[in-house]
């Protein structure tokens, strides 16, 4: 089993969810045109990932040892409904926080980064503490990638880009260069 700091750095930088595992590409390309929005989406994703890790751990420990073939369906249903309840609770308790994060919560739930987190954590046999650390690292890594791409895209808005390459093609090429930069972190921890 890896050390906790190894799991954290691994999920944050070395095996970044977006740039190395290609999870959550849809919001990564779709919502990253504005720095402020993408930062808040990243924070909301981090929050949902923590909830997901908790749900996945509970399901794995108490339910799925009896029925492993229900794993996928129960993950989706439980995660989606838990996030829905939390969204209602936030709306009731803290309208300010709801305005900052709330609108993104239902969108994030069916994102593959969330489901991927639950599946990866299960496949690697992470316990409760390891799962939470993994979720924190993955969430922060997702936020980092979102903010970096949004910053680069805002710069590109100001520069004179050929009309042909504008849009998704350019974003993918920027993401490729970012991903190359993140490969430099490989080997930071020998265990991951």
């Amino acid at each position: 089993m890896d050390s906790l700091i190894g799991i954290f750095i691994g999920a944050l930088l070395i095996n970044n969810f977006v740039l190395a595992y290609f999870l959550g590409i849809c919001p990564f390309l779709g919502v990253s045109s504005n720095l402020e929005t993408s930062f808040r989406l990243g924070l909301a994703s981090m929050f949902v990932m923590m909830v997901t890790a908790l749900c996945a751990w509970i399901l794995n420990t108490f339910l799925l040892i009896y029925a492993p073939y229900l794993r996928l369906i129960s993950f989706i249903v439980v995660i989606a409904s838990t996030v829905q309840f939390i969204e209602m609770a936030i709306k009731k308790l803290s309208p300010a926080l709801f305005r900052a994060l709330g609108i993104f919560l239902p969108l994030i739930t069916t994102n593959c980064a969330i489901l991927g987190l639950a599946i990866f954590a299960t496949n690697r046999g992470y316990g409760f503490v390891e799962g939470m650390v993994y979720a924190l690292g993955a969430g922060m890594g997702f936020t980092l990638a979102m903010v970096l791409l949004a910053g680069l895209r805002e710069e590109c808005e100001l520069s004179d880009v050929p009309a042909l390459i504008e849009g998704t093609a350019m974003n993918l090429i920027i993401a490729g260069i970012l991903s190359m930069a993140f490969m430099g972190f490989a080997g930071l921890f020998s265990s991951t």
Binding site: C26, L72, A80, T110, L115, I119, A169, I173, G176, I177
Partner: protein, 219 residues
Amino acid sequence: MLLLGNSEDYEEFNKGIWRDNPVFVQVLGMCPMLAVTNSAINAVAMGGATLFVLVGSSFLVSIFKNLIPKQIRISCFIIIIATFVTIADYTLLALVPAVHKELGAFIPLIVANCMILGRQEAFASKSTPRLAVMDALGMSTGFMIALLSLGSIREIFGTGTLFGVELFGPAWEPWVIMILPPGGFLTLGLILLFFNWMTQRKAMFLEQVAEAEVEGSSQ
């Protein structure tokens, strides 16, 4: 294909392959698209699994479309999709364990492929089972074409092979970057660029034809 004799069926099948190609035109389903295309064989396995899931769930959704309450339709679609994905996951594990190991967590992640949910919401929940299946077949063929072209390009340059067959001989120095994550982003970016270029050229050509016709009729 007997079904293709009917022009309406053919129209639904054909649109997914080129005009509304899910990847190149609609830019949907990017996660599996980039993650599993480091070799052509993985791309085929992922394309096959997606085809099975999309056709199965489109068929089921179009049959039950009047029974599913409107408010909770998305959850119902997801549960139907998840059921088919579980079947595909266990089938691949039983038939081709090596490929299943390679694809790993990305088979269960077909559930989160927005292309599949998108087809249920946009098409299957509003049409007859027959047309829904044709649409699903077309869309997944288009997805398969995209997966296969990306997977082949990355495998050819990244390892110098195609479907495991050596192409260039020992003098070839593989571009390792192509099978690593950045290669996926860069290759797909360049393919999209090529698509944009083709679309632009076609628009220019049609414009020229229209202009020539106007000139021809005025003389």
